[in-house]
């Protein structure tokens, strides 16, 4: 029975071990950051940061460095541009996101085109856009851990002011909190989280991990701290289950060549969200 679920070699495979470790770190980081993305209503901005990251990932491929650096650099730069255009004004939010998104996709198109033309391979395109967690290099683990610690550390440090500013900017500024600075720092943490997510499940799908587990957690608990823990748990669960199914799928039709991990992770995240909506929201009971 156990052998039927865990294919031979699953636990001893070094790529599975690396994928599980990187995936867990990323899921915890995105869960922590993602709860605030949903509370602040910045899912579209998160999506845009991931999508423009494709330009970074693809240029990193061309330059021959790890895609993580490309995702990271472009997402952080894009966050800076969004801040300048005015993402913190209600009316500027969609505009800032849309402009950055369009420009980023243009660059991604160029770099991916150049990459496939020179290398004569479509591997880079698929990896950048949709991720390939089994093909990671072990040298990435300390980087993922460091950037993850940075993003999570920022959220935990800013926790109370960020929560108050996200609930009501008016209440926060009445307490003399620097609402704009808090928002800018949060955008930076979100850029880091999205870049990490892009490494595992790809630039296009990265927001699924940012928003999905958090949106599910918001429905399951009434407390912000618990929402963060729940989102992390759902993310890690989806990631590990996705890795297991992808590993098992090497035997599956039609190609007997394995299905992409990202597909499984994103699908599990979606199913978890739908399942949580089926449970009536807990409001007054403990």
């Amino acid at each position: 029975m156990v052998a039927a679920i865990f294919e031979p070699g699953f636990f001893s495979s070094s790529s599975v071990q690396l994928a599980a470790a990187v995936g867990a770190i990323v899921a915890i980081v995105t869960g922590c950051v993602g709860v605030f993305t949903v509370i602040r209503g910045q899912s579209f901005a998160g999506e845009a940061l991931g999508d423009v990251g494709a330009a970074g990932g693809s240029s990193a491929y061309l330059a021959g460095v790890a895609p993580l650096w490309g995702f990271m650099a472009v997402a952080v730069a894009a966050a800076g541009v969004m801040e300048l255009i005015g993402i913190q004004r209600t009316r500027g939010r969609d505009l800032a996101t849309g402009i950055v998104l369009g420009a980023g996709f243009g660059l991604a198109a160029l770099f991916l085109y150049l990459g496939t033309t020179y290398d004569n391979t479509t591997g880079a395109t698929v990896t950048v856009l949709f991720g390939s967690i089994f093909a990671l290099n072990t040298s990435i683990l300390p980087l993922v851990a460091a950037f993850g610690a940075l993003a999570t550390g920022m959220i935990l440090l800013l926790y109370r002011p960020l929560l108050l500013a996200s609930v009501s900017p008016e209440l926060a500024s009445a307490r003399r909190l620097p609402v704009r600075l808090i928002g800018g720092l949060y955008l930076l943490a979100m850029a880091l989280a999205v870049a990490l997510s892009a490494v595992t499940i790809g630039a296009i799908l990265s927001t699924a991990l940012l928003v999905g587990p958090a949106a599910t957690a918001l429905h399951l608990t009434r407390r912000p701290g618990r929402a963060i823990l729940t989102a992390g748990l759902i993310g890690v669960g989806a990631m590990w289950l996705g890795i297991l199914l992808a590993y098992d799928s090497y035997d599956w039709p039609p190609l007997h060549h394995g299905w992409p991990v990202s597909f499984f992770v994103v699908t599990i995240v979606l199913l978890a969200y739908i399942a949580s909506r089926a449970i009536p929201a807990r409001t007054r009971q403990t």
Partner: protein
């Protein structure tokens, strides 16, 4: 010492807020025009004026969010700390799915400005519990804030504002979206808090009647200018006519006050008062 005798009186009469000759000009328009008044601890004051009279701007300058063009504002005698003012904003709309209980929002009033994650603390929990009791929120303090009724949210916000033990409590149109019963409850609660905790309460409203039974003083704003004193001193035809710059009548009917524009030549100003002027009541 001679001050021993005077001490209780002076603390009871301590000035919580002093607004001296404050003017604010925004984009060439004078929003506040030499406004001056002061509030004492334990006093309940209504800030009455129609939409656009400058109420929200006045709150912003008291909070320090908006700079004054001229004049001076002193909170709690000058040694102002961030906790001296409790504030309840006008519009408060939360997503019903927001993972935040009433008591979590109250706790953010205590230490929301501090860095780091709050650690479980018995004193913190006791302070929150004390505020939950003070605003009669026991029944709904554990529910999501976004799903509470307008009156329930007001109570949570008042507790959020009061938990840091401010000397001055500002409420921007807290009765605007409440039905008559909920409005009376909130007014009763605020009046009790003002006298029990010796806090100066300044509450803005475009309709003064719900506040009449509890108001110690009134600050009446019209076109950026203010008249201040007790209700009987301020809400009189000659005072308000001078403030508006044209004739208005003050009628007292069944314990209610109705302010109506007289037949002045300034048709627009007259429209303004009748439409959304203070005390203008619908005929039921």
């Amino acid at each position: 010492m001679t001050t021993d005798v005077l001490a209780p009186t002076t603390t009871a009469r301590a000035t919580a807020l002093s607004v001296e000759d404050v003017s604010v000009r925004l984009g060439g328009r004078t929003v506040l025009d030499h406004v001056g008044f002061s509030l004492k601890a334990g006093e309940f004051t209504g800030l009455i004026g129609s939409n656009g009279a400058g109420k929200t701007t006045l709150f912003k300058v008291i909070l320090g969010v908006q700079p004054v063009t001229s004049g001076r504002i002193t909170v709690a005698g000058g040694q102002r700390s961030d906790r001296d003012i409790g504030y309840v904003p006008q519009k408060f709309l939360l997503d019903p799915d927001m993972p935040l209980r009433g008591r979590d929002l109250i706790a953010l009033g205590l230490d929301g400005q501090k860095l780091g994650v709050p650690l479980p603390s018995r004193t913190r929990r006791a302070r929150v519990e004390e505020m939950v009791e003070a605003v009669d929120a026991r029944e709904f303090a554990d529910a999501r804030v976004g799903r509470l009724s307008g009156g329930e949210q007001q109570r949570i916000l008042i507790a959020h504002a009061l938990i840091s033990r401010p000397k001055l409590l500002l409420l921007d149109e807290p009765l605007a979206n409440l039905d008559l019963h909920a409005a009376q409850d909130v007014v009763g609660l605020l009046s009790r808090i003002a006298s029990e905790q010796r806090i100066a309460v300044l509450i803005s409203a475009h309709e003064m009647n719900p506040l009449l039974p509890v108001m110690d003083r009134i600050v009446y704003l019209a076109a950026g200018r203010a008249a201040t004193g007790t209700v009987d001193e301020v809400v009189r035809s000659e005072v308000l006519s001078k403030l508006y710059g044209h004739h208005v009548d003050v009628l007292r009917v069944h314990g209610r006050v109705i302010v109506v524009a007289g037949t002045g030549h300034d048709e627009h100003a007259a429209d303004d008062i009748v439409d959304d002027g203070p005390g203008a009541v619908e005929i039921v």
